[in-house]
Every structure is written in structure tokens, then in C-alpha cells.
């Protein structure tokens, strides 16, 4: 694959004694939107956590922009351009909306991908209105917007988004879909975990099917229509 920006080679991961990732291999090209799909417990979120160095134990090789980051400390991964939006959103209750937004340090000032605060407020007007509200007093949709917005400020160009549409009203989900399209058009590389296949289907360039902690199939956007039955079987729909 040309222009690979993120690759995992034979990555294994554990939660305590439980072996949960079993030799994950994947590649993501610059500017690509990739969706990890699969049933609950298949290991999709764990793959994102492994990339971010958040697993207690993992091995294998993780490369970002050609550099081996397997042994790099978790706090240094953000410097390589990773931005992480966790499944539980990770909004801090003791911080206001604006403090949450400004919390992640700007790690890459020269990346050209940094979204300014004014652009963020243009993209998510609600966040400007609720700037002084405690982070966890925001609605679910606003919290999700905040979780995405705060990593855009840092200069990250590889976004790992975990279940961003989960539990949100359809109108908010549409807004998020619009944001993903805009980010893609700006050149961001996006890896997203999505249970809501209808949300991910029109957005992703490729779909990596995850089962039992490994990538078992790859579906291109162009193949989507004629492989839908197969995908539904993978998802247990």
C-alpha cells in the first residue's frame, strides 16, 4: 500500500492475564478513513488502545509514519500525530467545557493540520455557548463534539475515534458524519471503531473486519454493495 501512515504488524495485547489481541496486522494510508467493524468484544476498541499505548501489556510492531513506536512511552505517541477520542468520551468532570477543550497540549504546531479554536467553535457552535459549563453537564452530543474537538486543536493528523455515534440522537449523528467528511477533505487520516454500521458505511474508504482479536477480512468501499450480506453476518445482524 502506498503512503502508509500507520501500520500494525503482529500486535498482541493483554488485559491482565487475558490474551485479547492475537497478531493484528493492518495498514492505513495517509488521508484514508478506515472503519474497524465487528461484534462486541471482537477487539476493536482494544486495537485503538494498543495503538495509544494504553494496554498494560502488548507486543508486536507499531509504526507511525515509518517510525517504530512500539517501545515509545504513551505520552510521546501524541507527538507523532495521534489524536484519541475514547469510547467513554473521557470528558473531565472537574474541568469546564473550555478547560476540557484546551487540556491536550499542542503537540505539532507545524503539522498544518491544527484546527484553530475559532474554526472549532465554527464547526461546533454549541461548544462556544457552553464554554464555562462543567464538562459533564453537557449533553451527550455536546460531550462527543468536545471529545473530537479537543484532539483537532493539537495538530494531530491521525485520529482514532471510538464509537463516536454511540447513544446519540439521529440529528447529532448527522452532524458528526458531516464533521468526519470535512476532516477527510482536509486530509486527516481517520481510524474509527463503529457499531453503527449505517453511520460508518458512507464515510469509510475501507472496512477492516475484526474477529477474536485479529483482522479477518478487508472490505473496500467499492465492494460494499455486493458484500453486504457477508458484513451483516460478521456483525451478527
Amino acid at each position: 500500500m502506498a503512503g502508509v501512515i500507520l501500520s500494525l504488524n503482529d500486535v498482541n495485547g493483554w488485559y491482565g492475564e487475558s490474551h485479547v489481541l492475537h497478531g493484528v496486522n493492518l495498514e492505513v494510508a495517509r488521508g484514508e478513513v478506515v472503519s474497524l467493524i465487528g461484534r462486541n468484544g471482537a477487539g476493536r476498541t482494544t486495537i485503538l488502545r494498543a495503538i495509544m499505548g494504553l494496554l498494560e501489556r502488548r507486543n508486536g510492531r507499531i509504526e507511525i509514519k515509518g517510525r517504530d513506536m512500539s517501545a515509545v512511552a504513551a505520552h510521546k505517541l501524541a507527538m507523532a500525530g495521534l489524536g484519541y477520542c475514547p469510547e467513554e468520551r473521557g470528558i473531565f468532570s472537574t474541568l469546564s467545557c473550555e478547560e476540557n477543550l484546551l487540556l491536550p497540549p499542542v503537540t505539532r504546531r507545524d503539522s498544518g493540520m491544527r484546527v484553530s479554536l475559532s474554526e472549532i467553535y465554527e464547526m461546533f457552535p454549541n461548544l462556544a455557548e457552553r464554554a464555562k459549563s462543567p464538562g459533564t453537564r453537557l449533553s451527550g452530543g455536546e460531550q462527543q463534539m468536545l471529545a473530537i474537538a479537543r484532539i483537532l486543536r493539537t495538530g494531530a493528523d491521525i485520529l482514532l475515534l471510538d464509537e463516536i455515534s454511540e447513544g446519540l440522537a439521529p440529528v447529532i449523528v448527522q452532524t458528526l458524519a458531516r464533521v468526519i467528511r470535512e476532516l477527510k477533505s482536509r486530509g486527516f487520516t481517520i481510524v474509527m471503531v463503529e457499531q453503527n454500521f449505517r453511520f460508518a458505511a458512507p464515510l469509510a474508504d475501507r472496512f477492516l473486519v475484526i474477529e477474536h482479536g485479529r483482522v479477518v477480512d478487508v472490505v473496500q468501499q467499492s465492494e460494499l454493495a455486493h458484500r453486504m450480506d457477508e458484513i451483516h453476518r460478521f456483525l451478527g445482524v
Binding site: M52, G53, L54, A73, A74, H75, K76, L77, A78, M79, L82, Y84, P86, G90, F92, S93, T94, L95, E99, N100, L102, L103, P104, P105, T107, R150, I151, T154
Partner: protein, 294 residues
């Protein structure tokens, strides 16, 4: 002579002042203890020992080296903070993620070791640290006379608490600290060097405890046990204020110090237990403390 509920006003005011002085020490110590618990999740039993160490370091600077109170006020927190950083890097970082009991046991062991070293070097008989000349004398308010040094202790302690509160509640660094207390792994994923932050916070907490020791040195007989007697009360203060709550530590420290002072006037037998009675009541009504979060 004016009496308030059967007690001469002068006596009551005197005890209120003493209560405020003690409350200032409780606030300073519980503040450090609370922040360390919030970020490291370690119940630092050695915190009282660092207070004791601060007082003895001030004494050591004065006696062999001839460096007086103001030198101690600057140097002791730095030296003690450095010792704290070494302890965190070499010992405490090995027990993160384990049950709280390990932290309690390790810091209890540290208390024994540090106290033993102080006992070997300084002996067990009480030592006197003089009140600095610039802070000696009395302040006449008309209705009562206050020792200048005690007023200084209250002002300095409140100033330190205020600065700490402002840094934690009103700055970007403080926001990072608060976030680190809630979810350190996510903060790390954002590119913040959380292990370094933890080390510095521990060093700062130890420095603050040692500074409280410097402030207290001219007010007491210095013995290696002074940390023991205060740490149990400070644990009570932290529990009442709410583990991890900065404002709770400061307010409950001051309030409970005053309450203890008032108890000494009206019912002296209860003065040493009043804080723990309040603690039991608070735990029954609000198990997470007055200002703590569930």
C-alpha cells in the same frame, strides 16, 4: 471582664488564635496529603514525617551552619521536595496500581526509617528553635495581644493555601493536574508526561509539609515524634474535607483547628477527640466527605 458563655473573652480569643494556628498546619498538611492521594492514589503515612523532617532540617541549618529562619524557609522545602522526588522515583512508582494498603505500608516503613535516622542524629530530647528576631514581639489589638510569630504563621499558611488553590483551580497546569487525578491514562494519551507530573506533585507535597514544619519549629519542642501526633489528626481532616478535594482540605483544616481550640476552652476533655467525632458524623452522613465527589 467580658465573658462569653461563662468563659473570659481573652481566654476564648487566645484559644481561637491557637486553634487558627493549628488549623493552618492542618490545612497545609491536608492539602499536600489530599493532592498526593488524588494524583498518586497513595495514602501517604510519611507526610507527618516530612513535616517533622522540615522542622529538623531548619534546626540543622541553624545549628551547625548558622543559617537562620529565612534561609530555612527557602532551602528546607527545596531539599525536602528533592528527597520526596527521590522517594517517589525509587520506591513509590513501583507500587502504583496496587491496592492502597501497599502505599500505606510502604510509607509507614519510610516513616520508621526517617524517624530512626533523625533519632540517631538529633537524639530524642526536645530541641528548641528560636523565634526569628524579625517576628518576635507582640501585636496589640486593643482587646487582646497577639504574638507576632503566630500571626505570621496564619498569614503564611493561608497565603500558601491560597496560592496552591489558585494554581490548581485557575491555571492550565492545575487543569492538567485535576484531569490527571480523574483519568491519568487519557491525559497521558493526550501527550502529557503524567509520570513526571506525578513526581513533581509528590515533591511539591513533601516540600509543603516540610515548610509547615519550618513554620511550626519555633512553636514547639522538636522531637522525632512530632509527625506522628499530627498525621492522625490530618487524616481525619482530609476524610472530613473529602479525599482529593483541595478546597475541602483547606476549609476543614481551618474550621477543625478552631473547633479544637473552642473545645479546649469549654470542654477540654473532648479537645483531642472532637475532630474524630466530627469525622464519624461526616462519614455517616456523607461518606465521601463534605467537599468530596462520589
Amino acid at each position: 471582664m467580658t465573658e462569653i458563655f461563662g468563659v473570659p473573652a481573652q481566654v476564648l480569643y487566645g484559644q481561637l488564635l491557637l486553634g487558627l494556628v493549628n488549623g493552618s498546619f492542618y490545612a497545609l498538611l491536608s492539602l499536600g496529603l489530599s493532592v498526593i492521594f488524588g494524583l498518586l492514589n497513595i495514602v501517604n503515612f510519611a507526610h507527618g514525617t516530612m513535616y517533622m523532617l522540615g522542622a529538623f532540617l531548619a534546626y540543622a541549618l541553624l545549628m551547625p551552619l548558622g543559617l537562620g529562619y529565612w534561609w530555612a524557609f527557602i532551602l528546607v522545602p527545596l531539599v525536602a521536595g528533592g528527597i520526596g522526588i527521590i522517594i517517589e522515583r525509587t520506591i513509590l512508582h513501583r507500587i502504583y496500581g496496587l491496592d492502597n494498603i501497599y502505599g500505606l505500608l510502604v510509607t509507614f516503613g519510610l516513616t520508621m526509617v526517617i524517624e530512626g535516622l533523625v533519632r540517631v542524629y538529633f537524639g530524642v530530647s526536645g530541641l528548641r528553635y528560636p523565634v526569628p528576631a524579625s517576628l518576635s514581639g507582640m501585636l496589640d489589638l486593643g482587646f487582646m495581644r497577639l504574638p507576632v510569630y503566630r500571626v505570621w504563621v496564619i498569614v503564611a499558611a493561608l497565603g500558601l493555601c491560597l496560592v496552591t488553590w489558585l494554581v490548581i483551580e485557575r491555571t492550565r497546569l492545575g487543569a492538567t493536574l485535576r484531569a490527571g487525578t480523574e483519568n491519568p491514562k487519557l491525559v497521558q494519551a493526550f501527550g502529557v508526561n503524567v509520570p513526571l507530573l506525578v513526581t513533581l506533585v509528590f515533591g511539591w507535597g513533601v516540600g509543603l509539609a516540610a515548610l509547615a514544619g519550618v513554620l511550626a519549629a519555633p512553636l514547639m519542642q522538636l522531637t522525632p515524634q512530632i509527625g506522628h501526633s499530627i498525621i492522625i489528626t490530618v487524616f481525619g481532616v482530609v476524610v472530613i474535607g473529602g479525599m482529593g478535594s483541595i478546597l475541602g482540605s483547606i476549609l476543614s483544616g481551618l474550621t477543625l483547628g478552631v473547633l479544637e481550640g473552642v473545645a479546649k476552652v469549654y470542654y477540654p476533655e473532648a479537645s483531642s477527640t472532637v475532630i474524630f467525632v466530627v469525622m464519624i458524623l461526616v462519614l455517616l452522613v456523607r461518606p465521601h466527605g463534605l467537599f468530596g465527589k462520589q
